[in-house]
């Protein structure tokens, strides 16, 4: 079909650390088709209009979690958001909120990755197991407890939605706490007591005020707010138990 391209204005927050004192908006006129995502719009800019624009992307299919940005002020995946939904208005693209801007739409993920490493995001077996002993078995109910929380793609949209993280970056934050819960709730795992020390801290679940926006913006239905807030109950139980003589609150 020979359709005439519509043109949408994409307003991008630019920041080149070697040139700019502070970020500024730059507007590009981008011809687009029905099926073009915001990410494809950015790729058009980079290929055809301005090769200096920096942004992250890889899979183009909401799996790698690298293309997150504030799109008209809302944390979204660029590859999962369509230009047609903004046309005929302009669409504004900014780097994910609450993270330091490294360059243009690229934010610093060091803090997030550091936190991710700290929670032991892997299964720690109760005891060493040989291959001959075979696989671990899980019931559907045991799987159900962790399934939703294991869908996280580390896109950090929930951090951009979390004012508590913005106000105090020491907060471990929604996505990593959801992953922490995913491993703590796993029937095969034995490192819960270790991870609870992170949960129990002020920087753990207790920085959360149940704003709940993280769960709204999560593209994978992880519901991090649920993971964080049900761990407040778990942490409170842990707290009151550790007062008991010879406490079970290890």
């Amino acid at each position: 079909m020979n359709e005439t391209h519509k043109v949408i204005a994409i307003e991008v927050l630019r920041y080149r650390p070697e040139l700019d004192e502070k970020p500024f908006f730059q507007t590009y006129q981008v011809p687009f088709t029905e099926e073009m995502s915001v990410l494809q719009g950015l790729l058009y800019i980079k290929d055809e209009l301005d090769g200096t624009l920096s942004f992250r992307w890889s899979c183009r299919m909401a799996i790698c979690g690298s293309c997150g940005a504030m799109i008209d002020g809302v944390p979204m995946l660029g590859c999962h958001t369509f230009l047609r939904d903004y046309y005929p208005n302009k669409v504004r693209v900014e780097p994910l909120a609450h993270f330091p801007i490294e360059r243009d739409l690229v934010v610093g993920a060091d803090d997030f990755i550091g936190k991710l490493e700290r929670i032991k995001p892997y299964i720690v077996p109760k005891e060493p197991r040989t291959l001959a002993e075979g696989e671990y078995l899980q019931t559907p109910a045991q799987l159900e407890r962790i399934l939703q929380f294991s869908s996280c793609i580390n896109c950090m949209l929930c951090y951009a939605a979390c004012p508590q993280y913005g106000l105090d970056p020491a907060f471990i934050g929604p996505g990593v706490l959801a992953l922490l819960h995913r491993y703590n709730a796993d029937s095969r795992d034995a490192a819960r007591a270790d991870r609870m020390q992170l949960v129990n801290a002020e920087e753990g679940v207790w920085s959360c005020t149940a704003v709940g926006y993280c769960s709204e913006v999560c593209p994978k239905g992880v519901d991090p707010a649920n993971a964080v807030n049900q761990n407040k109950t778990a942490s409170a139980a842990d707290y009151f138990l550790h007062w008991l003589p010879k406490g079970s609150g290890k």
Binding site: L167, Q197, N200, A201, E202, W206, S235, Y239
Partner: protein, 118 residues
């Protein structure tokens, strides 16, 4: 990392939040609108002799104490966090003030209810 003592305040916050969510609107309606106006409920429902009898009964005492103190603990916890939300950096003073108010209110409620007698 250091264990937070937030669970104490959070538990009180949660208990007060639940109690006020369940009966808060109705209580306001009763004590603040219906009884003062004598509308729906008789105006003498909260007369001195009636309320004295209510507050002298152990159940009345427990109810009054729970409502006053838990509502306070619920409210001050949120207010404390809102101060942080609005950009207040040093939290210690705000924390002492907020939770101090709830503690004072709790003590005053307990004292008054004891003075009222059994």
């Amino acid at each position: 990392m250091k264990r937070s003592n937030a669970p104490i305040f959070w538990t009180l916050f949660g208990a007060g939040g639940m109690l006020s969510a369940l009966i808060g609107p109705m209580l306001v309606l009763i004590t603040g609108i219906a009884v003062p106006l004598g509308f729906l409920l008789p105006a003498d429902l909260m007369s001195y002799p009636h309320m004295l009898k209510f507050a002298q009964h152990w159940a009345g005492k427990a109810f009054t104490f729970a409502v006053v103190s838990l509502f306070l603990w619920h409210g001050v916890h949120r207010i404390f966090h809102s101060l942080h939300d609005l950009g207040l950096k040093t939290a210690t003073g705000a924390k002492l003030t907020c939770y101090g108010v709830a503690l004072l209110g709790t003590a005053l409620a307990a004292y008054s209810l004891l003075v009222i007698g059994f």
